[in-house]
């Protein structure tokens, strides 16, 4: 896309003499909806998943009076399906949205993408301001691709494989049943699903931090942009999303 940022407007300076910000609507509402639904799903799935892996509550009384594990599984399944539908929705919006909806794609065949990747990593490590992006920077895009998209698929497929086990040969087993022999058995599938869940949490910790850091460092309104959709840039900033097509 390589949108060039227009030279800043002198009238803006009059309005905000101390900081010459401009706004741009970057994240369309489907992206923002996806993000928050995804975040809630991951939190709920992780919490319920921890209980399923290691059920620490032990209700007393007769079995008919309790439904703890059953309920937790129900919640887990429900949010898992919301997660999947949300995921498919995001894939749809990858094609339908504005160019920023595609800016996280790892454009590995483009030299400019690789340059941006290393420059961004260097900027983060050296705590430099560096250049500003309105979409995803290459590093962010790569991390989202690996830790949200790939890992998301891994969780969906291992999860559906386990879900399908109560009805082998059924609909879900037709879709995800092949995962079980691939992983070397159903017990292995559980192990991976559990490990990946922790990787999700690891990602989330880094993600939340980087978002706040990035917002502070670049003064681009990154945190609020996931609510309003608007990002800010300053006079003199160059839009570096030049690998986006």
């Amino acid at each position: 896309m390589a949108t060039r940022v227009e030279r800043f407007d002198p009238s803006d300076v009059a309005a905000q003499p101390h900081r010459y910000f401009r706004r741009k609507y970057v994240w369309q509402w489907p992206i923002r909806a996806f993000h928050w639904v995804n975040a809630i799903c991951i939190l709920v799935l992780f919490a319920t998943g921890l209980y399923i892996a290691n059920p620490i509550l032990s209700p007393t009384g007769e079995a008919y009076g309790n439904f703890v594990m059953g309920r937790v599984l129900q919640v887990h399944y429900t949010f898992a399906f919301i997660f999947i539908v949300n995921f498919l929705w995001r894939i749809y919006w990858f094609w339908m949205g504005n160019p920023y909806a595609r800016s996280g794609f790892p454009f590995v065949w483009k030299a400019s993408w690789w340059r941006d990747l290393f420059r961004q990593a260097g900027d983060y490590l050296a705590l430099r301001r560096g250049h500003v992006h309105l979409g995803h920077n290459a590093l962010g895009g790569l991390v989202y691709t690996l830790f949200v998209i790939f890992l998301g698929w891994a969780q969906i497929l291992t999860g559906l494989a386990m879900y399908s086990e109560s009805n082998p040969g059924g609909f879900w087993s037709g879709i995800a049943g092949w995962v079980i022999p691939l992983a070397g058995g159903s017990f292995q599938v559980r192990m991976w699903h559990y490990l990946f869940a922790w990787v999700f949490i690891t990602f989330s910790i880094v993600h939340v931090y980087i978002v706040f850091y990035d917002g502070q460092q670049y003064k681009n309104g990154l945190v609020t942009s996931m609510i309003s959709g608007v990002k800010f840039y300053q006079e003199g900033d160059i839009d570096c999303d030049n690998w986006i097509s």
């Binding site: 250049h131 922790w198 690891t202 931090y209 850091y213």
Partner: protein, 366 residues
């Protein structure tokens, strides 16, 4: 085996003095075991009355003979006699009277004279390392005998976990290179009947099905008959109510254990195991592991020896050199991320503290 070839099961039973009532009871029980409804019982009766018994060659490779032990204890179809007379067990080196050269001749003659007619039942599997020398019968490697006999068989029944998926001798590090039957022969249908051992009623059920309908039972993607391996232990377990309630045994002697709560936290493999134990149970339907208060070991699942301790809920990471549970790795990752974030944040704050004194240094701007 002194019986004339071509005799039906019923003929043989009559000769042995089994009355018709007992025979019909057997047919009904077998039909029920195969999951057939009452209208199908006449088909079972008809088949066992008229069809000549299936000649069976029963080979023993690397194994412990627990499948045979289970099979000869089959109790559901009333008498062991019936089971043994249902098939024409022409060669079984563990059970037959003949020995040595005489025994091998029986097998060779069957392969030569009845190609495509006999069923090959294999108990155990074959080691493949060093040319298969770790299991030899009558001076030949078992691998060789297995392939030769399988080549002319009608189809192959792989008894037990050894023959179906390798079992203990194929467990890591598998020193003899043992491989399950389906990996050693080609071009033949293989029915996998896993379990260590498989349930006797399941074994006879498979044979009766083949005899009754003259075809293989419906198999799942692992080659197991769906009628016996179509449901998880967990989905038929009588302790499932406690699982759903969230009531779990925590130690072998706690209150939950006495009340018969779910064994999930004690490593029960019920949720990952397909078998008929909760339905048929063992030893004339007396009990089965979970009913006896011990979790399922998952003995009918591939690689069950390698899934870490039988008392662990989650297996360890199967990457060589990493002896850690996913729990440990996961928590380490999360903590490492936290530490990294804290370090970055601290240096950011320090730099900003310095920066505010030196007035807005913005470096690296392009």
């Amino acid at each position: 085996m002194s019986l004339k070839p071509g005799m039906s099961t019923y003929d043989v039973l009559r000769e042995h003095g089994v009355d018709r009532r007992t025979f019909l009871r057997f047919c009904t029980a077998t039909a029920a075991a195969m999951g057939l409804d009452a209208t199908m019982v006449p088909r079972v009766v008809e088949a066992l009355e008229n069809k000549p018994r299936i000649p069976v060659i029963w080979l023993h490779g690397l194994e412990c003979t627990c499948c045979s032990e289970s099979f000869i204890r089959s109790s559901h179809p009333i008498t062991q006699d019936i089971i043994f007379n249902m098939i024409s067990l022409d060669y079984d080196d563990t059970l037959q009277a003949a020995a040595g050269r005489q025994a091998e001749e029986i097998r060779e003659a069957l392969v030569r004279d009845h190609p495509g007619e006999y069923v090959l039942a294999v108990e155990g599997n074959a080691p493949t390392r060093d040319g298969g020398v770790y299991c030899t019968v009558g001076g030949r490697t078992f691998l060789d005998i297995l392939q030769e006999t399988a080549a002319k068989a009608k189809f192959v029944v792989a008894w037990g976990s050894c023959a179906s998926n390798g079992c203990v001798q194929a467990a890591h590090p598998n020193p003899t290179g043992a491989k399950p039957v389906k990996d050693l022969i080609s071009g033949k249908a293989v029915i996998n009947v896993p379990g260590c051992p498989p349930i006797a009623e399941v074994m006879t059920g498979v044979l009766t099905y083949v005899l009754t309908f003259g075809r293989l039972p419906e198999l799942d993607r692992f080659g197991r008959p769906k009628m016996f391996y179509g449901k998880r232990i967990h989905d038929k377990c009588y302790r499932r109510a406690y699982f759903d309630a969230g009531q779990f045994v925590e130690t072998w002697d706690d209150d939950g254990a006495k009340k018969g709560w779910c064994l999930y936290k004690m490593g029960c493999r019920g949720p990952t195991t397909y078998n008929s134990c909760p339905t048929f149970k063992w030893n004339n339907g007396v009990s089965y592991p979970i009913q006896s208060g011990h979790g399922c070991l998952g003995c009918s699942e591939a690689g069950f020896w390698d899934n870490s301790s039988f008392y662990d809920r989650l297996t360890s990471i199967p990457v060589p050199g990493i002896e850690a549970t996913p729990e440990l790795i996961g928590k380490t990752l999360a903590v490492a991320a936290g530490v990294g974030v804290a370090a970055h944040f601290t240096s950011f704050m320090i730099k900003r503290g310095i920066g505010s004194k030196t007035e807005n240094v913005e470096d690296g701007k392009d």
